[in-house]
Each structure stands twice: as structure tokens, then as C-alpha cells.
Symmetry: C2
Subunit: 326 residues, 2 copies
Amino acid sequence: MNQPTLLTLLEAQPDAYVSGEEISRQLGVSRTAIWKQVRKLEAEGYVIEAVPRLGYRLKERPSRLTEPELRAKLQTRVLGRHLLLKAVVASTQNEIRQLAEEGAPEGTLVIAEQQEKGRGRMGRSWLSPPGKGVYMSLLLRPDVPLPLAPQLTLMSAVALCRALTRVTGLAIGIKWPNDLLVEGRKISGILLESAAEDERIRYVVVGLGIAVNLDEADYSEELRARAVSLKMAAGRAFDRAALIGEVLLEFERLYAVYKEQGFEPIRTLWEANAVTLNKTVTLHTAQGPFDGIPRELDASGGLRVELPGGGWRTVYSAEVGDAAPL
Amino acid sequence: MNQPTLLTLLEAQPDAYVSGEEISRQLGVSRTAIWKQVRKLEAEGYVIEAVPRLGYRLKERPSRLTEPELRAKLQTRVLGRHLLLKAVVASTQNEIRQLAEEGAPEGTLVIAEQQEKGRGRMGRSWLSPPGKGVYMSLLLRPDVPLPLAPQLTLMSAVALCRALTRVTGLAIGIKWPNDLLVEGRKISGILLESAAEDERIRYVVVGLGIAVNLDEADYSEELRARAVSLKMAAGRAFDRAALIGEVLLEFERLYAVYKEQGFEPIRTLWEANAVTLNKTVTLHTAQGPFDGIPRELDASGGLRVELPGGGWRTVYSAEVGDAAPL
């Protein structure tokens, strides 16, 4: 699915020289074109050694994400193909909403190395130190009526959960509606913002924040109890570009399933990965808190909660907490 | 409910002088303060005659809407209290969305004398000649989960229908979801745009376009078959400021009912005023057209349609047209 690029060829043989002839053959371009691409990578911060007769070797790569690297790791057809990589933004959500209003196409992706005002659910801030996390926002233009928008929130959680599980091998669970947890601590945040005209969705922007390579020192004392990075949980660092590639690929697959088959398969996957079901929790709603046992999702994506005294209540908007001990 | 203003006092006696003493007593302000208010009205385009010993008389009023006039006609507690009156805008919806993003409070109202890019449903343009229509957008910040947003669309139609019926005495029917018709021709358009964060609505802006005093010459040949103004239908012109006051009052009442009692009473009122129910129509959806007989709304605001071969289908997004004749 993926076209080879100069970068992927050099990365495939990190300790050897790749001849110009070989590169020329594999990429189907002239020697002069290769030289231009080498210059481009150097401008991005890569250090490439060129030795006459031997060829090229990748000596150093920049620690920040680069566009050539990201493009080399993209395996999608649509998502991320229109790519904007920024050093610092206030928030990737604000950036992409602006682009959405200007008519940017589905699949447009904004990635930032650092967010100065990273936002999470309910206007909370999202820890976004430079170079260690993934902060990105994806533009979708689904042909889905507005009442079904919460299904996209749940689909996003499933996509991120499956991709991160595959990459890291960690046991990752979904807390309703879309937080991902490792051993009860949060590793990522998802925020969907939608704009609608009457009952038609104009666009949805999916904000994804993933704590990839953050270290213990990046967290405040208070956050440490509730949040953890993939690196801290798995005991090793992860290639952020490869991880982004996996997340987008899984997202594109599930989005296609959703568009073709509707919410039913997504619901099944969500329930299979959820850690919120079948135990007593407190649900904090705008109308106040109540205790109950979430049992399943309904067809539109609401959470069906069994009440202690019998009966059921379906919630669309709530924060889930542990039930208060008796 | 309404505080008297200098304008309401002068308008109450169009052919007589109102003494400064009387005004001073009724408004509870000094003679100097009255003089300042007279100056303010004059700056708005009013012509006020001041005769020593007799007092003040309103000689002429501007043909455009003025803020003092609108404030004099407002009977609401919240809606329209934060008021922006513009001569020309691209679209009142764009103006108010900007204000909403900047944190404007619920009830903020933008009214324009003229729209250069008035927008209707599905990106269609909306005829907005200067001085003859009402083009306004209202900001709501309802504490309602996103899946219920279509209920606000239906509530808006009911509010506008009831207010216009009361003011004009015309027989006005609602075409699903929110067009208002007089004898099959459209007199107003409603466009709700909502912004949400996950399953929480951040804000909804309600665009209301009302063809109040448009004349036949304002319509193209093609539009004349499908649209009509209140003036053309009723055979008399209407005071736009008074009409705006009535619409906002009815809107505020129904919004309070909705917040206290939910959608059920709104559904009853919508069905009572609908012209779309119980006859065969063609529903044009994104998945293609189909024929059926709309029978009622469901609890979330979807339209329940009985199919010719038996069975039911609920639609959230469709254009309703007459069924093709056999």
C-alpha cells in the first residue's frame, strides 16, 4: 500500500550505504532527482552521508516529527493525506476548525509538536510538552445525521484503543465514552467537536492526545495518580511517526466499516474493550450524580445503566467515577 | 413587564405633545436626561418636535429598525437583551457564530437590515432585500445532549409559527422540519447551526428569516410560485419591531417549557401546526428518495413515516416534496 520513499530506503539499512543506482531503480527517478531529495531531507534536519561509489547512508535523524518521516509511515488512502505539521500551536483543534470552515477536505490532519493551550473534555487543559506526545486533529465530513454524532466519539475510542494495543502490547481499556486507560490511569484523550446545520453534520474534528514518551518528571504529583505515558507503562519509548501511522490506518478501517455497516460492529468492539461495564459506578450528569451499573450501549450510542432499585436509565453525557464506598 | 421608554411615551400619543413634566414623572428622570434621550433618538433618525411649554412630539420615524424601537418592543427577560443591530452583514449567522465563539451570552441577538449572503438550508441563498424582511440570529446555550438538538429545530418552528399567526391572523402551517407556509408558499426560513464538544452542545445559533413586507416585485418569477410575504398574504404591512418582539417572547416561553417539561409539549404543538402529516409525500434523503405518509414525530424529534408496503421508517434529515402523481 505504501510507496517507498528515499527515507524508507535509507531507514531500511541503517548501517549500510544504499547505492544511487539502487535508489534510482526502486523509486523510479533520476540520480539528479535523488540528490534533490537528499537536500530536502537535510533541510528537515536529517544528516545524510554521501560517499562516491558507495552511495548514501542515514547518519542522524531529527528528534522532532518531520513531514517526510510521517509520509513514509502513512498507510492510509484519505486520512492524513492532507497534512499540516506545526511546531507550536495554541491547540490543534482550533487550527483544524479554522481549516474546516475554509473548506478543507475530509482527512485533513494537523499535528503539532507542542500545544500551548491543549484542550481536553469540558474545557480542561491537556498536558502537551514538546516532542514527547502526539497532539493531532483530524477532519471528517461524515454523511451522518446529527443525532448519531456520539457514535463517532465511540468509534474514535475503539480505533485508538486497537491501534495503541497493537503497537504497545499493553492492556488498554476504554472508559466511557472515550478515555483510554492502562491500569486505571489515563494514557490518551479524545475530543470530538462537531458543527451542524439543522440535522446535518457539516464536519467533525477529532482531537487525539496521546502521552507517548512522557517521563515521570513531566507529570505533576497530582496527575501521576491519574495519568501515565505509553513509555512509562511499557518500559520503552515508541516511534511517534509509526504510531501515528498505525492510529490513522485503524481509524480509516473502522470509519469504512462504520460507513458501510453502521454502528453495530463498532458497538460490539467498544463493549469488548470497555472497562466501564458491569460494575457499580457513579455517573455525574448535568442533573446531578447517580449510581448504577452500565450494562451496554444502545443503538444510538447512549450508555444503558441499570439502576440499583431496578429500572434503567440511558445517559448521553456524564463523567464516570468510582462509586462512593459505603 | 416592559419598562416605558421616551419612545413608547411619544408613540402612545402620535398626534399630541407630551409635556416634559409628564415624561420626567413617568420615566423617573430629570429634564436634562430627557433632552439627552431626545438627542439620541434624533441621532437614530427620528424627528422630534420640541415646543416650549407644550412638550415633545414624534414627527417622523426612520424606516429602518432602530435600537430604541426594538428595545421598546422587547418583552423578554433574556432573549434579545444583548442586541446588535447592523445595517448590512454578509449573514447574521456568520456574525453570531463569531460572537458565540468569543463567549457571548445566551440570548444574544443579531439583526440586520440587509444580508449580502443570507443563507438558508443546504447552503441555499435566502432573499434578503433591505428594510422589508426580518433577518436575525439568536444565540442559545442549551444544556441538552447533542442527540436532542433536532428538537430545538422543531421548537423554533413552533415558536415562529405561533408568533406569526398571532400577529398576522394568517393560517400558517409547518412543513417538516421547520419551514412555515401560507397556502403552500414559504413565508420564513429557519436554520439552526450547532457546535458541540463530544455529546455536549456548546451553542446553537438560530437563524430566522421572515418575509414581512416584501412586495411582489421583490420576488423572481420562479420564487413567486413558492414564496410569499406576510404583507402579500395578509394585504397589509406589519411593524417589524413589534413582530420581532412577539417572536422573541413566544420563543422564550416555549424554550422555558422545553427546559422544564422536555420535548413532549413541543411535539404536541408541532404536530398540531404541521401540514406535512397524514398525506403521501416524497422524502428526499441522502440515500435517495422514497414515498410514504409521515404520521408523527418520535420522542427525539425524528419523523415517523408509514411506508406504502407497510412498515415504518424514521428520518432525521430529508427534504419533503409532493409525491409524484401516478
